[in-house]
């Protein structure tokens, strides 16, 4: 089996700060995703990447940048943290195209002071 790791587990930032979240997977999956989880709003897609060096915007891409440095890693940057923002960011990966299940990481919990 494989695993997805996300670093850091907890991230505390200041208003206006640029913050970077990292995700690594060893499934050898082609596609990776970043989601934001807010209570009552489900999993909202920020960015995804079909293959190395590919980037696709999701519904919530404004205010974020992403980078797929290599097949196994996918980074997300909050370009300017918003005061009092709190959310969990989940990374996922998937093989087998549309019929495959997604595998999720444990999440990064962001708090902006």
């Amino acid at each position: 089996g494989g695993i997805i790791t996300q670093t850091p587990k907890f991230l505390i930032g200041q208003e206006g700060q640029k913050l970077t979240l990292k995700c690594q997977q060893n499934f050898n999956h082609d596609t990776m995703y970043w989601y934001r989880q807010d209570s009552g709003k489900g999993l909202r897609l920020i960015y995804y990447s079909i293959t190395e060096n590919d980037l696709q915007k999701g519904d919530l891409s404004e205010g974020y940048d992403a980078s797929r440095e290599k097949k196994s890693s996918f980074s997300l940057t909050v370009t300017s943290a918003q005061k009092n923002e709190m959310a969990v960011f989940l990374c996922a990966s998937r093989g087998l195209g549309g019929r495959g299940e997604q595998y999720f990481g444990p999440g990064t919990r962001l708090t902006v002071l």
Partner: protein, 114 residues
């Protein structure tokens, strides 16, 4: 575009009662896959079950769901709720023949009380 609707944000049940979490969807793709993911507190979300076959019951870990394309539904059911079923449940849709990202519903929090 594709969409998934989970109308109930919170479902509270007494242990032993049946569970039914609703999921309806809209898609232009005839061979879309429907998924149920479960997210327990302090764990990663994981797949509970999936289906793309019309009118076929899919089961896993005591839960079951049947995809009904005529009504665009994929409701999650269990005959008897357990305390350990308390979690967040997401319904998701994915076209089977392209690389579009899956579309998730808003999620339903299931709270099972003694």
């Amino acid at each position: 575009g594709d969409s998934v609707t989970q109308k109930e944000g919170l479902v509270t049940l007494t242990e032993g009662l049946p569970v039914m979490l609703n999921c309806t969807y809209q898609t232009i793709y005839s061979n879309a896959f429907l998924f149920w993911y479960v997210h327990y507190l302090n764990e990663s979300p994981r797949l509970l079950l999936k289906s793309s076959t019309d009118n076929k019951r899919t089961e896993h870990q005591g839960f079951h769901a049947t995809l009904h394309k005529s009504s665009s539904s994929f409701h999650l059911q269990k005959s008897s709720a357990q305390l350990s079923d308390s979690a967040l449940y997401y319904c998701a849709l994915s076209p089977s023949n392209n690389n579009n990202a899956p579309r998730f519903g808003a999620g339903t929090k299931l709270s099972v009380k003694p």
